[in-house]
Amino acid sequence: MKNPPLILVVDDSKTDRLIIGNVLKKEGFSVIFAEDGLKAIEIALANQPDLILLDVVMPKLDGYKTVKLLKKRTSLVDVPVIFLSASDRLEDKVKGLDLGGVDYITKPVQSAELLARIRVHLKIKEYIERLQFLQREQLKNIEIVQRSILVKPEDVPKAGFAVYYNSLTGAGGDFYDVVEIGDNIYGFFLSDVTGHDLKAAFITSALKVIIKQNFNVINTLTDLFSSIQNILCPFMPEGMFLSAAAMKINRNTYNINYITAGHPPILIIDRNRNVKMLKTEADLLCAFSNASLSEHSGVFHKGDRILIYSDGLLEHENSKHLNIKQSIELIAMEAVKLWDLPLNLFVNRLVESIIGDKSNQKDDITLLAVEL
């Protein structure tokens, strides 16, 4: 909110502009004017007013059409619009409010009413701005906490992994972890909780604890996923669930145990650029009370690269015309092309080549690559 608040008065009538302008200026508001709808949009975009008073009947572009165009601009969508009209017909008022107006004042304007209504809507706007600010701050704090629980490749150098992690809102629903669970045996975990708000962020913190306590030599991957089901799911809010993939990699024998639950398949690309997809048939966790879980294993080779990723890498602007299978094939294809790059460069380039510009991202994206 500007100080003093800036009000755009849109009216083709000279007498109205004179009256409204004077009444507002006398109360200390800053005022700018437009004589028709087209000019109003131009001036609003250039000056970002705090509130717009919009006449309905005007030449060129009437008030109803103007508000529709104003509300299409992201920078103006939250600016309250109060309609001014000589008509006190119910259907005209309802139409104005339906189109995105916050209020409706009938002409001729009563200065006391005009000021009272403007003050109410500016107060509401200020509350909304304050609330949005607090929410952003909260999300920022959550992001700091979340980032601190995400392990970096240099924390576990012998695990031989690289990662790309980008949360869409700050409080992400994606989570990954890499733990050393035995001599040269490493555990990898990646999950995607529905939503990316505060709730999702708290759940990822809980996952961190569960993994710390349960991802070890004694437990199988099936045990790990059962623990998530039994410990976490009872506390999940209604309608929230998660997909997950996990691997236990023995770097001495190149034996890999893996499990996926409602998650995109793990991709393995060998030195000859052959691609394999690893997947187990389990449902999303916490979606059903008795999800059946089973893990598989296989022996692979030194130099093979293994990719686990969240579905943000499958659903983005560039994948609009692709089905899931085609999106996965796209990842495999690009990964083959970039195979020669060092692992940390490989993950970043791979995401870049698939998503393109960051604005195409529609969900949190995590890509974790391991080299055997």
Binding site: D12, S13, K14, I19, V23, A86, P108, V109
Partner: protein, 114 residues
């Protein structure tokens, strides 16, 4: 039909600001001939849509200065135009001009009987 100029109503809407009331009336009087001309041209060219809008803004401006009789004539004209009766609208134009003259005269000499 209301009064030529309801000063009390105008002042009440403007929270008693005499100076602003005077300024609004002055702007109205100086701007009216242009508005009337625009309305006349629209009617003569058979451009009903524009004519309705001009009649509407004359009605609104008259209401702004509490020129009640003028507002009533403009309202009647707007209705006639909305009915698409261009001939009737042409016949009513002089009434509008006549009422405006009375208003402007009244502002100049408020004490004279009209």
């Amino acid at each position: 039909m209301g009064s030529i100029f309801n000063k009390e109503a105008l002042l009440s809407r403007l929270e008693g600001d005499e100076e602003l009331a005077q300024a609004v009336v002055d702007v109205f009087i100086s701007d009216f001939p242009r508005q009337l001309q625009a309305l006349r041209e629209a009617i003569e060219n058979g451009n009903t849509k524009d004519a309705i809008r001009y009649a509407h803004s004359i009605k609104g401006a008259s209401a702004n200065v509490s020129a009640e009789r003028l507002q009533a004539v403009a309202l009647r004209l707007e209705k006639i135009l909305k009915d698409g009766d261009i001939v009737s609208a042409l016949e009513n134009l002089p009434n509008l001009e006549e009422e405006f003259k009375k208003f402007a005269e009244f502002i100049k000499n408020p004490d004279e009987e009209l």
